[in-house]
Each structure stands twice: as C-alpha cells, then as structure tokens.
Amino acid sequence: MRTRLCLLAALALCAAAATIAAADDTAVPASGENPDPVKLVRREAKPLSAMAQLGKLLFYDTSLSFSGGLSCASCHSPDHAYGPATDKPVVLGGPDLKKEGARAVPSLMYLERQPSFSIGPDNEENENVDLAQAAALGESAVRAQKVATDTAAAGANLVPQGGLFWDGRADTLQQQALFPLLNPLEMAASSIDEVAAKLKNEPYAYRFTQLFGLAVFDDHQMAVTEALFAIGRYQIEEPSFHPYTSKFDYWLEGRARLSEQEMRGYTLFNDPKKANCGGCHLDKPTADGLPPLFTDHQYEALGVPRNAALAANADPAYFDLGICGPYRTDISDQTQYCAMFATPTLRNAATRQVFMHNGVYHTLEQVLDFYDFRDVAPDKIYPRAADGTVLKYDDIPDKYRPNADIADPPFDRHPGDPPAMTAQDEADIIAFLKTLTDGYQPAK
C-alpha cells in the first residue's frame, strides 16, 4: 500500500515536471536552435589497427558461408546503416540461400557502448550476484513507470537489459558474430573446423600468423575465435559504425537548427501524454558527454501483431518468445520475460524498410500507428477471429499475455480513450526521427 502511494506521488511529480518541460519547449526560440548547446564527446579517429584491418576483410568475405554468397555485410549493409538492404521482413540464407531468417536484421550500428545482458543495471565490479538471483530480486521489486521526462527512475528497474540480438543472448560483438556464421538459416557454416580450414587458405591468412603466432591454425577453435574478435574489433574501431553525425547531434551541439515540424515532433517524442518515445528511446547525452543512444537497452513485451508473411508462423504452435526462447535458452524458465524483445536504437531508423523483431511493419507510420491504436482501437492493429473478436496480442501465447507492457505511456490507455497522437502528430514525430539519420552536413 505504501509503495503504491509513493509511486502515485512520484507520478504526480512527473506530471508536474512534464508540464514544466512542455512550457520550456514552447519557449524554444522559433529559430529552432538548441538554447542550451552541449559538447558531445566522439571517439578520436585513428587508423585501423592490424586487428581491425583483418576484421574488415572477414566482415566482407562471402567465402566463409556455406553457400559462398553471404558475408556479414550481406545482411548488415554498410549502405543501409549496417542493417538490411531490403524491405523483406527477414533475409534469405542457408546452404541454398532460400531459407528464411528467424527475425528482422538489426542494425550493427551504435553497439560500441552496449552493456552486457543483466537483470537490473549491469555492474562488473560486483562479483556476487548471478542471473537467477537477480531475476528473483526483480520479481519482487517495484518497477518505475517509463516516462520521457524522468528516465533515471526506470533506469534502475530490476528488469532485463543489455546484450546483443533481439533477445540479448550474446554479450560481446565477438560472441555475437559466431551465431550467424553457424546458423543453418544464415551463413550455415557446418562447423568451426570447416571455418578454420577456410581461414587457413584465405589470401589474408598471413595476417593471422602475424598477429596470433605460427601455431594459430593448429587450434581450430582458437583461430575462429580470433577471427570473430577481429570482426568485432572492426566494428569498434571503424567510425562508420558509430559516427554520431545526425542533424540531431549537431542540434545538440548548437550547430544545426530544427525545422518547426521537427521541433514539434521532438516535443511530442518526449511528451508523456503523447508519444512518450523518450521514455525508452533516451535522447539525452550521458553525464560523460557521450551522445544519446536512443535506447535504454531494456526489454519490453510490446505485443506486436503476428507476421503472417513469415513461413515459420504457418505453424500455429510456433511462437517467438524473445528472451525465453526458442533461440535463447539460458533463462527460458523465467517466464515473466517471455515475449520480451530488446529496445533498439532509433538512430537511422528512418532509413530502414523493416521494423520490429518479426519485421511486421515497413514504415514508421505503421510503427507509430501501433503505439497509437494498440490499446484504444486494437481492431486497427490486430486481425479478427472468425467470430469477429479482435485477436489482441496474437503473437503471444495466452499464458504470457500478462507480460505485455500496459504500464508505460501510451500503453496505459483503454478502448475508447482518445489516441495519444493525431495523424499530424505522427507526421511531426517522423520528421523528428529523420533528424537521427547520420551524414548531416552542419552549416557551422
């Protein structure tokens, strides 16, 4: 009881803060300048190390796949924000390049600060709590609501966060790179031994012996591990994976002006009574001056509609449950996390043609409609059963539907409530999202 009262009090404060923030926003000069510019800290550009140069060769090498037709860059296209080049929900791979991948290809950009997967904030210095213990604590802990005007409280929530892939099953870029290499739906290499044998015969094999010693190919596992690390190192060192050159970055620094529409979109983005995007897609630089990543690295069960375009979904018994499986297997017993997927960065989202873990959406309008109507008019989002009932959360099994987020605005609304956004609001937010695309040329 007492906890609830505290929470309510906090919410009242949040609402008050939101009002003030909104008042501040209307006070932003019509010129569209940031009235309070900051200095962003970007990585110093350095020549690629020998390790990263090797990683680059590997990143673009199709010969490591069984088909000989896929490299990392095939799905993580450098011309498409290291994401998919197509509007297909998933990419085709496998030995014959005809198998559907399981999930939409995430971007490889802006992962250089990704924390390890954990329940609650990660803390490498503390060596005394394991995943099961943390999950147990998380079950009894109060979860702060996510609102764009106060993201610190939700940041301390004891909920899943961090890690790579839609389900966080890898912690490092090196670990991550192994999965597509061996996935029978993707690069489909048959074994570590096969990959090691290929590496040994690559024209750049001499780089391995130069860096790792003459015996590197004697131990196949070690040779492949070094190759995977090199790929990750390339992603860490190569500036195009994390340039922070969007219009919004320059606006933060006082070097660009937002248009009136972009500014309206930015305000809506952070308005808890409207889109509240900023509750999860954090837009503030860190205290260290590092540019915002537009994600809180946490996981959510949004309940996006089932994608009938995926072959796997022809089986009505098949469900992709994110953290609790089927691709992640270590905490599938923590069923309170079933159907949760990672919150991705929104940087360069406007360049993508496929959205959500199952690729069910293809435009930002569709994505915003989902947030707008899921609760107030679910018939606009989900299919109907034969009897006419709306099949809300049709991609989550019944027993896990309570995991769906109904706490964080705008998901706290009910049928018949007014939607959080108008069509104009959505257009304005999309205009703002386009300012998150890299490669803007600032005037000054």
């Binding site: 990585r43 020549p47 190390s49 020998a50 390790m51 990263a52 992962l111 250089e112 600060r113 990704q114 924390p115 390890s116 997967f117 954990s118 329940i119 609650g120 904030p121 990660d122 803390n123 490498e124 210095e125 503390n126 060596e127 005394n128 709590v129 394991d130 995943l131 943390a134 604590l137 009894s140 802990a141 301390a156 004891l158 790579l164 912690d171 490092t172 870029l173 090196q174 670990q175 130069q210 860096l211 790792f212 010693g213 015996a215 004697d218 131990d219 596992q221 070690m222 591990t225 070094e226 690390f229 990750g232 190192r233 860490i236 060192e237 860190t286 205290a287 260290d288 001056g289 590092l290």
Partner: protein, 567 residues
C-alpha cells in the same frame, strides 16, 4: 566467485534490504604520528636502515606473472603497435618462454580440461579488454592441482563477459600480454629491478591479498553482518571456520561500516596491520585510493560512493572506489568508514591535525588526489599505499592493461620529478592473479585442511600443522603460498635491468617497512611478515642511488626523451 555473473548495483541492493550497520567503534591506536611542519618533508629526517626514506606501493589488481611477462623480453611487434626492443644482456626470467611451456603445455595436454584445453596464446593490444577469470580460494587451488598447474581452463577459466568489445575465448585463462600492450612495465623491468618469484601469501582474490600486503594475516576475521555460510567448493563464501572457534577470510567481502560497503555482507579484522606499527613508531603513512573522497564530484557529475569514470577501452562507466580493496578499512584502529577528509594537506600522513593534539578525521585514509596534492605541497609521507580508481586498477572485466598503464605511468612520472624521488622506492605489484595461468608453483609452507581447501585433494592443502592465527594457535584458511604476481621496484637505488629470484611474498612489503623504519619490529599474531623473504636483493645501496629515472608515455608505454608535464 565469478562464473558468468549478472550483476546488481549496490544501490539496488540497498533499496531492497536497508539494514543499519553499526560503525565499528573507534579504538585509539597505540602511538600516533605527529603532523609534518608545513612545506617540509618530515620523512627525510626519519631514521631508516637503508637510504630509502619513501616507499610507495602501487597496488594493482589481478595479474599473474606469466600473464604480463610470459615472453619477456621478446614482444611480437605487429605493424602499427608500439614496438618493444630489449636491452642487450637482459637477464632471463622464469616465464613460459624460458620454461618451454608455450607449446605442449600441460593445460593443453590434460584431458580433464575438456573442450577448454588450450595452449598459452598472445593477447593483442586490441584485446586489452578481456573477460574476467575465476579467482576464488578453492578454484585457484584446484587449478594449481598439487603443483602440476594444469587445470586452469577447467577451474579458473570461467569469468564475466567484460564489455561489448571484450575478447573472450575457451581457455582464455591461458592468454598473456607482451610488451606491445604492457610496455611500461616491461620498460620499468628493463631500467630497474623485478622479481620473478613473488607469490601471494595464500590463494584467493582481492581482499585476502589486500590484507596480506598490510598485515600478513587473513585470520582473525569478525563477521559484522552476513548472508553467507562458510565457503565450500560448491558454495563460495568469503570465510572459513579456522578450527579454533574463529574465522579466516578466504574471499572478498566489504569492510564493516564503510559507507560504500554493500549492506548485507561486511567483516572486520582483529589483528594488527603495518599502520598500527607505523603509528607506534611515529612514521608518517597513508592509504590513498581513487574515488575515496566523499565530497568530490567527477567530470560526469557522479559523486559520493557512485563516483565513476568512463573507460573507452572497456566501453562503460566504472565506479571508482571498490570497498573490498581498502586494506586499512578492515581494522578499527586504521579505518575511516565515513571517508572523512584530512584537516589539511600538512596533516596527510599524520594521526593529528596541525595543532598536534586533535585527531585528524582522515585517520591515514585518503583519496588518490590527496597523494598528488600533498606531494605538490612538499608533504611526502614515508609510506604510501596506493590504489588507482577501479577503471585503472588492471582488473579484467572492468579495467584493462592500457587504462592501468596510464595510471601507473602517471604516478611514476610524477614521483620521478619530485625532490623526494632521490630516496624513494616505488613498488608495483598485484593483490592476486585473477586466476590467469601461471606456470610457477611454490611448495606449500602454510598448510590448511578446511573443506574449502583443494590443492592436494578435497580438504587438503599441504601437510603438517597449519601456521598460527591471530591467537597463536594453528588455523585453517591460509593455504599458501598462492599465485605468483609481478613485482617491480622503481627507485634510484634499484638494481638496473635486474631480475631477483629470491622467494618473496606480499608480506615481504610490511617486512621491508619494519626492517627499514621500525628496527625490525614484527606484527606478531601469526603474521607472515616474520618469515617473508627480504626485498633487499632488488636494491643496490652501494651504488649511491644513481639508477636514472625513466619517463614513459602513458598511452604508448614507450620511453620519453624528456620529463612530461606535471600531473
């Protein structure tokens, strides 16, 4: 202690389980140190057995000797990396290269390591951020396997993932860096003196190491508050029953009453530490730790116990102060649980404020910044124990050799430019090995037969009666010597490009202090100091202190032609 952990902030634990912990009662220490006169180096006038008037112990984290010196003095020198070339006549050291263990290593041959069996392998400079290894008391003993040192992948090769750019592999515990990454330490070894035979006094992680380097004793632990049972092989805790009705600390636990300690597990120590003897001998001393000052605010706005620094190499923000590394905080007589500030720069190192009668609130515990500030003000304590902020302490997982190098070099470059450098000895050493592979084994001289002991089989470490604990009776839980760690002396009186093979241990540090400043007084209470090896082989006091200072580039780890700008 660290099989793939997912971790929880201390704040979150505090939120869930607020527990009042009584601060330890302040006990008056025997004797005390009077404050220095302003702008004078009181330590210069103290009577010492050698010309050394200042000892600075840079106490880093979690590195085995072979992890940094496996191929010394030969580095790979790949293109684009800071190159290392050994001086002619560099002496051989007891490393993997000399022992011919880089190939056909027993950790590769022993099938018990399963799929993780691996030969030693080079870690590249780009792999500076690595996963952390298991370095618990029992796991290390299992890895050392009665002196065969052949089960590291099986028992200590599992750790936390580290940052997103970290390197991790099967058998990673067999990885070693060379002079392209740890160039500064290799330079110091070239120009000064290094031991290749320095062991932790007992197996186990940070806190036992921190206690041994100030007291030579891990027995006499008192539980303040605990959620843990005595440590076993399967359920790791931080203490064992010593067989005499008391406890010996074997793994990490936070100090009692420290405002930054986790609330539910805290312990104190009942024996004496070197600070007590220095107080009795009126010798100035201090413990200086990054992140200790409570009122300071970092550039990122963090303050108090949460002060943190962003490491680009690790890829995350790392909290500066780690309470379970704070040597002197475990003893009521030398604790400063509330992190009170010294009354003045002149009072640093002393027990009293400037009036000579009011007890100084810091009680010899300071922030690392206070070390720099005191020296700049001309107050260079006789004894300084230093702990870098965590991101620079060298501990795999949240720190790395490159961030570590920046901190160590910064300190050494600074000290080398002080007037007091002429009679200073800087010791660079490590609290434990992190579990990283090392091929050297020191036969057991401190036996133990607790259920947590595993060196010679379940419940066995060595044979014969255990060494006495704080009450003078044989106690369990001090199985040792433990792991071998680097130990370098940088001093005008250090021998040049010299490697000492004399067996020493972390307790050799308090022994050196006792011999030099305290007329050979000993801590007693079963401390290892009395039997610890002497550090004197690392010095040459006849040459007149003419070993030249070497300035090093903190990022490249290569020598500089001129002294760098001040700190």
């Amino acid at each position: 202690m660290s099989s793939r952990q997912v971790l929880l902030s201390a704040a979150a634990i505090a939120l869930l389980a607020p527990l009042a912990v009584p601060a330890p009662a302040a006990e008056p220490s025997q004797g005390a140190v009077a404050p220095a006169a302003p702008s004078s180096d009181a330590a210069e006038s103290a009577a010492t057995a050698t010309p050394i008037k200042h000892l600075v112990v840079i106490f880093q984290e979690n590195v085995s000797f072979d992890h940094y010196f496996a191929t010394y003095p030969n580095a790979t020198n790949p293109p684009g990396e800071p190159a290392f070339a050994a001086a002619p006549n560099t002496p051989a050291v007891n490393n993997l290269a000399k022992a011919n263990l880089l190939k056909n290593n027993p950790n590769f041959i022993n099938k018990a390591n399963g799929a993780d069996a691996a030969e030693p392998f080079r870690l590249d400079r780009t792999q500076a951020a690595t996963a952390d290894q298991n370095h618990a008391y029992s796991a290390e003993q299992q890895a050392y396997d009665a002196g065969k040192n052949d089960l590291f992948p099986k028992y200590t090769g599992k750790g936390t993932p580290g940052g997103v750019g970290a390197f991790g592999t099967k058998g990673q515990v067999m990885g070693y860096f060379d002079g392209n990454t740890v160039g500064a330490l290799w330079q110091y070894a070239q120009h000064f003196a290094m031991s290749d035979n320095m062991f932790a006094d007992s197996y186990g992680p940070s806190t036992p190491g921190a206690l041994n380097v100030v007291s030579g004793q891990t027995n006499g632990m008192k539980i303040v508050i605990s959620t843990k049972n005595p440590s076993t092989v399967s359920a790791v805790g931080y203490y064992v029953e010593d067989g005499q009705g008391g406890f010996t600390m074997v793994n990490d636990v936070d100090p009692g009453g420290d405002v930054c300690s986790v609330p539910k597990d805290q312990a104190m120590m009942s024996g004496k530490n070197i600070g007590d003897l220095l107080n009795a001998g009126s010798v100035s001393w201090g413990g200086f730790m990054g992140g200790f000052a409570f009122d300071a605010t970092n550039a990122n706005g963090s303050t108090g116990c949460k002060r943190s620094t962003h490491s680009t190499i690790v890829g995350s923000d790392v909290v500066d102060y780690i309470a379970h590394h704070n040597w002197f905080q475990y003893y009521a007589s030398t604790a400063n649980p509330k992190h009170d500030k010294a009354s003045s720069l002149a009072a640093i190192g002393s027990s009293f404020e400037h009036d000579g009668t009011t007890r100084d609130p810091a009680n010899h515990e300071y922030d690392l910044k206070d070390f720099y500030d005191a020296l700049k003000a001309g107050n260079f304590p006789a004894i300084s124990y230093i702990k870098a902020p965590a991101y620079q302490d060298g501990h795999a997982g949240y720190s790395d050799p490159l961030d570590e190098q920046a901190a160590v070099v910064d300190l050494v470059n600074f000290i080398e430019q002080q007037p007091g450098w002429k009679d200073t000895a800087i010791v660079i050493t490590y609290d434990d090995s992190d579990g990283w592979y090392d091929h050297a084994f020191a036969p057991v001289t401190s036996a133990s037969a607790d259920q947590a002991d595993q060196l010679n089989g379940p419940g066995k470490c060595g044979a014969g009666a255990p060494k006495p604990g704080v009450e003078g009776k044989p106690v369990n839980g001090r199985c040792g010597p433990g792991t071998r760690q680097p130990f370098i002396v940088v001093s005008p009186f250090a021998k040049t490009n010299y490697v000492s093979h004399t067996h020493t241990s972390l307790a050799s540090v308090p022994r050196f202090i006792e011999d030099n400043w305290l007329k050979g007084a000993r801590l007693g209470g079963g401390s290892f100091d009395a039997a610890a090896g002497s550090l004197m082989d690392l010095f040459d006091f006849k040459a007149g202190g003419k070993t030249a200072a070497v300035y090093v580039d903190p990022e490249q780890g290569t020598p500089l032609s001129a002294p760098p700008a001040g700190h």
